[in-house]
Amino acid sequence: MDTQSPASGGPGRAYSLDPVTLEVLKNSFSTIVDQMAEQILRTCHSFVMYARDFSSALCDHEGNTVMQGSADIAVHVGTLHFTAKAVIEAFGDDIGPGDVFAVNDPYLGGTHFCDVRIVRPIFAGSEIIGYSQSNGHWADIGGSVPGSFDVNAKEHFGEGLRLPPIRIVHRGRYCGDVVRMIVSNTRAPEAAEGDLHAQLEATRIAEIELLRLVAKYGRETVVTAMQEVQDYVERLTRQRVAEMPDGTWETIDFLDYDPANGEGLVPVKVRMTIAGDRIRYDLSGSAEAVATFLNGTFGSSFSGLVTGTKMFFPDLPLNSGFYRVLDVELGPPGTVVNAQWPTAVTGFCSGSYGKVVNAVFELWSHVQPQRAMACCVDIEYLLVGGRDRRTPDGDVFMWYDWMVGGWGGRNGKDGSSATSAVFGVGEAVQPLEGQERLCPVVTTEHQIATDSGGPGRFRGGCGVRKGGVLTAMRGTVMSYCCDRARSITWGIQGGLPSIPHGVWLTRAGGEPRYMGAIFSNVPVGEGDRFTRPSAGGGGLGDPLERDPAAVLEDVIDEYVSVGRARRDYGVIVREIDRELDLFEVDMEATRSERRRIRAERIGWLSEDPEGVAGRFRSGELDVLDLVRQFGVILDWGTGQLLPQTTAQYREMLQRRAVPAWLATEGGAA
């Protein structure tokens, strides 16, 4: 894969623009993309887009990204240049002033079909000097299910309308026929066209502003600055990378399972090599594409690598200069990280993408321990769609919900609680009061999930729990796009995992039933109740090393229960007066409990899994005991042991937890 194209400059190359002009134009480019974002926020129709699932870019005449919006959704990062290049490739010389193009093809470097990218060439005189691009997640792009998230889709045909680069404005004339063809294939044509307008205007604002700069500074200067802003970022990035130690690090993260292969975690392998001022990533060895839509194409996998890396260089601007420093080998085509047409890929965001990102976090935690971070929550989407009996005509409704969760424990700091997934840090959760107006679903809880933060010397941030009861509806189904019910959000350096994902559904008058983390089109009806948690972050460091005073504070705020304080941290907290927040740590009992856990815990990881599963079924052990102490993974609904998954999960704990435990035991003895 060509991510290098170093033609326009290496680190040693001097700039031709003076530093002041370059700084001024760099900031102007940044203002332009932020103006585009503002335009989208004020005029978009899709609630997904309004929740900040969009991005804006200014690209150069070759399609390389010069500047991306400062608050753009992470998952689009590193893909916008691919789509600009796809437009150039498709239309070549046939791009004229007043043309605008649309593209959403994930096999051409896009992310998934709902992300519709509007690309406008910017002409100074007769010459193209760049492209402005607005990428937004439409609420629906057709396919077999509302919201275009068909968990069971195996091929793109069930997922939605595929747009290769096509022209939607031709020499200034709006191609209404083409646009109608597109929006007629969505479930909400009016909203789709409204979003298209918002995006068209956003790209036009960029054109106006870029031409203003041309008028002021001259075309040559602006075009040069568009290159040199990329060189600037490349140079800065290379300098930083050169200061890092050379070496190779590798790790492995997992998707839960491939329904085509039964149980067993699905590996995503990431190997990173730092050599001088270059970073090389190699995803070879990752599994074959799975038979759900959790696969990623080259665009989203590249984006995952950029996102993971960028988190360790927070102050660097994002553009193609940054991408040039990355040398990426995705491995053979057809894998879960390099899926090919027509493999279904819409759920990549809950699937391969988050695995790549978190693996990169772990690798960089070795290189930059001062910025270390354990695994963070992956994005999940719950969809309830059907007919709303509150309206006279039984209007179609779509309760399309995603949650925040916990980020991983950090060096010297607990993880961030109740935070949007790394996938889209700016992606805001929806107000339930708005949802209740629009859908016959009454939310019964939206709160922090006690004990969801992975235990560690620095605890993972807490996840949340959200659920509801279904009211006046008919013809309604529920689908869930999620993962990490088995490959549970993990800790590092001795830290422990969070909690398994999955929906619990209680039929009217029935018992709660575990539905798992990925399912589609389950019929539901009035009176049914559901809830699901989001993962907290994984812990960082040995939980037995956590300051008992910090555990005490967590207990007072009910981030941690008294029971888990004992089991996960070995801290014995006694309640004096809960109403007045009065609790105390029994230090003597704590020392002795910590000694006991230290002596036994490595042994727990090799206890007979069937025996552990039996103790779970009899109620002696609970889910958190299994995932945090015994490393045993079950089908959480039936209590059946998953032997292959358990073996892989235990191997993971051996790698991420045990060495650090052994090290602290030496120190604590």
């Binding site: 001024v24 926020l41 009016e190 502003e209 260089f313 971070m373 339930l432």
Partner: protein, 676 residues
């Protein structure tokens, strides 16, 4: 006894307390500036005394304060509690989940104003339409009150889901708390902000709860001190929305003071521009560490309901829209690792301050650049402070000029170009992205550093005219004298414009207006001084943000308003969708109690020419040599005088360079009106 004829306005900032005194009889303005005190009231009273004002003679005392803003930022807040619907105690901790810094995993959103242990749930539930699904469990409610009593918490936010649609349960909870906890302050979300969206409403109510004891206490103490010294009127407190309110309203709506401090400057710039004949103005208030930018279009200051003091905790009551950026006189110029010349947002602050202050600062700032270029003289505040030019030279030489291979003046120029470009980008964000063309605006520059940058900035933005008010340093305080009592009331009203019965809209407006009347009457506003303005918030069906459209008179149908909405959408967002359905989202009433305003005196033009006090070399442009430039004392300038650039105009609280090609004229209100 004489008729009280003095108006006093006090603007308390973090560093300085500015006092502006206007004498109705003589039409004169006098000013005082003194360092703010630990208890802000001390500096206020000292300043009044220093100005020789007898509070018996004061007809009106108005006050802008950063007390609330600072309390929120520093978290010096009383322990507060929240009582909320079962299942929802974490709404204000979950927020919308977003982070301000997307890429720095080590930078967190601040914790909520009320800790989890102090957020207590009760059983109750209302649905989206206001139907009570579960009545408030009153036994539980009383138990909660008992817990709060034991905890000794005296300020409580009551935040129930869908309370905007039906406040009955919240009110019942409030009554129970009042009965069980006499003296506690209760902020109901449906009273503070009766609007849909739980986090925004809860967050606003929580901010009100934590501020109430503090801010009310402050305002009441100040009111008592003024009264005992002879002031007979109501203390008027500037709120974020650009109006004033009395201590009585502050009791209920403390959160409205959260941006009191920054509103004043915006109001003053509107007034100054208006007098000078400009209905479109961009206000630029540049101080030592930051710059506040505001915008007036057609005589109206832009307001917003989407703002916060700390990221993640919105305060959704109208606030004057002020964009604050980290660019001030003390902003540091620095080279990044790739050799790029950057400016701010780090600042040398007041201590050590710019290198030129000679207090140990060695890094170059905008002030240092202005000094070495001669735009700023060697003295500040009429000699109360001298500047060290050599230190400024060394700072710029060592940190910028040498590494970039430039001369010191060229490096200083480069520093200012970057600073001005950053400010220009900020102005673009607040103007162009809202559909306004800066060329149709006047730039009003004030604050200590604003006038230094005014002309360069205007040229960068193609703004033809710059106004420098007579007292740039205390312009904000002046703003406090120029406002009316104002209450902003709103109610949700959701429905398609073509299906809405105008009579229902009118009835809702009347309800809001009654409440407005009631509040104004309670503050002693006479009926003839009351004014009620209506706005309808509308949007295209399916859109998420709405636009506010002014309306008045009888509403027989909504057609005209819908057309106004299309037009406003086209102006602000560059497109309109005539075929698309429009919906009504919210109704707003602004209840105004007119406060008499000072008539700023007009001065007849003189024919005399101004005489310079001396000359000094000044570098105005990159690459050019220094020009021997005449220096004028602003105090000696009279209306009608004209000064062609190059010139420097100095005064107690600021300095205004007039570069070659620009011309300054002193207008009837003694503003410098610079044609750039």
């Amino acid at each position: 006894m004489t008729v009280a004829s003095i108006r006093v306005a006090v603007d308390v900032g973090g560093t300085f307390t500015d006092i502006c005194i206007f004498d109705d009889r003589s039409g004169t303005i006098s000013v005082e500036k003194l360092p703010s005190s630990a208890d802000p009231i001390e500096a206020v009273l000292q300043g009044v005394e220093k100005a020789g004002v007898d509070l018996h003679d004061v007809a009106l005392f108005s006050h802008g304060t950063t007390v609330a803003t600072n309390a929120l930022i520093t978290r010096r807040l009383p322990r507060a509690a929240m009582v909320t619907t079962r299942g929802f105690r974490d709404i204000i901790e979950i927020r919308r989940g977003t982070k301000e810094d997307l890429w720095d995993a080590y930078k967190d959103v601040a914790p909520p104003y009320i800790r989890r242990r102090d957020r207590i749930e009760v059983t109750e539930r209302v649905d989206y339409d206001g139907a009570v699904l579960t009545a408030l469990d009153e036994d539980e409610a009383r138990r909660v009150a008992g817990v709060l009593r034991r905890k000794g918490i005296e300020t409580i936010a009551v935040c129930f889901i869908n309370a905007h649609a039906n406040p009955a349960n919240e009110r019942r909870m409030r009554d129970i708390l009042a009965a069980e906890l006499p003296g506690a302050r209760v902020s109901c979300s449906s009273e503070v902000l009766p609007e849909i969206f739980e986090h925004e409403r809860f967050s606003t109510a929580a901010a009100n709860a934590v501020l109430a004891p503090l801010v009310s206490g402050y305002v009441n103490r100040l009111g008592d001190r003024l009264k005992s010294s002879g002031y007979d009127g109501d203390l008027l407190i500037l709120h974020s929305g650009g109006g004033v309110m009395t201590p009585k309203t502050v009791e209920k709506m403390a959160v409205r003071l959260a941006a009191s401090g920054i509103a004043a400057g915006a109001i003053a710039s509107r007034h100054i521009a208006g007098l000078a004949g400009f209905s479109n103005a961009i206000g630029l208030d540049m101080g030592g560490t930051s710059t506040d930018i505001s915008l007036v279009a057609d005589g109206v200051l832009r307001t917003t309901k989407e703002w916060f003091v700390e990221y993640g905790y919105p305060i959704c009551l109208p606030s004057i829209e002020v964009l604050t950026i980290g660019a001030g006189g003390g902003s540091l110029a620095w080279l990044d690792e790739a050799g790029g010349l950057r400016n701010g947002p780090q600042s040398a602050g007041a201590n050590p301050g710019p290198a030129a202050y000679g207090r140990g600062g060695t890094a170059p700032t905008n002030t240092d650049a202005n000094l070495v270029l001669g735009r700023l003289g060697g003295e500040l505040i009429s000699g109360a402070m001298t500047l060290d030019r050599d230190a400024a030279d060394r700072a710029i030489g060592g940190h910028v000029a040498t590494p970039l291979g430039l001369t010191v003046p060229a490096a200083a120029n480069a520093i200012l170009r970057v600073a001005n470009a950053n400010m220009a980008d900020a102005v673009r964000l607040i103007s162009i992205r809202r559909g306004y063309d800066p060329r149709e605006f006047v730039l009003v520059v004030f604050g200590g550093a604003g006038p230094l940058h005014g002309v360069d900035l205007a040229r960068e933005l193609s703004i033809p005219t710059v106004l420098v008010p007579p007292h740039p340093g205390i312009t904000s305080a002046l703003g406090c004298l120029l406002v009316d009592i104002q209450h902003d009331l709103s109610t949700m009203f959701l429905g398609r414009a073509d299906a809405v019965d105008p009579a229902d809209v009118a009835a809702e407006f009347e309800k809001l207006e009654e409440e407005g009347h009631r509040r104004l009457a309670a503050e002693g506003v006479a009926p003839q001084d009351m004014q009620l303005l209506r706005h309808i918030d509308m949007r295209y069906v399916g859109q998420w943000r709405s636009m506010s459209i002014a309306t008045s008179g009888r509403l027989s149908d909504l057609g005209g308003i819908v057309e106004q909405f299309h037009a406003a959408h086209a102006r602000e967002h560059n497109f309109r969708r005539d075929g698309a359905k429009v919906e009504v989202y919210r109704l707003n009433v602004t209840a105004i109690g007119t406060v008499p305003k000072p008539d700023l005196p007009e001065h007849a033009p003189v024919t005399a020419s101004p005489a310079p006090t001396g000359t000094r070399p000044v570098w105005f442009q990159d690459g050019s040599a220094a020009i021997a430039t005449p220096v004028f004392d602003r105090a000696s300038l009279a209306a009608g005088m004209v000064i062609a650039g190059p010139a420097i105009i100095e005064q107690l609280d600021s300095t205004t360079p007039i570069p070659p090609g620009a011309t300054a004229e002193v207008d009837a209100w003694l503003n410098l009106r610079i044609t750039v």
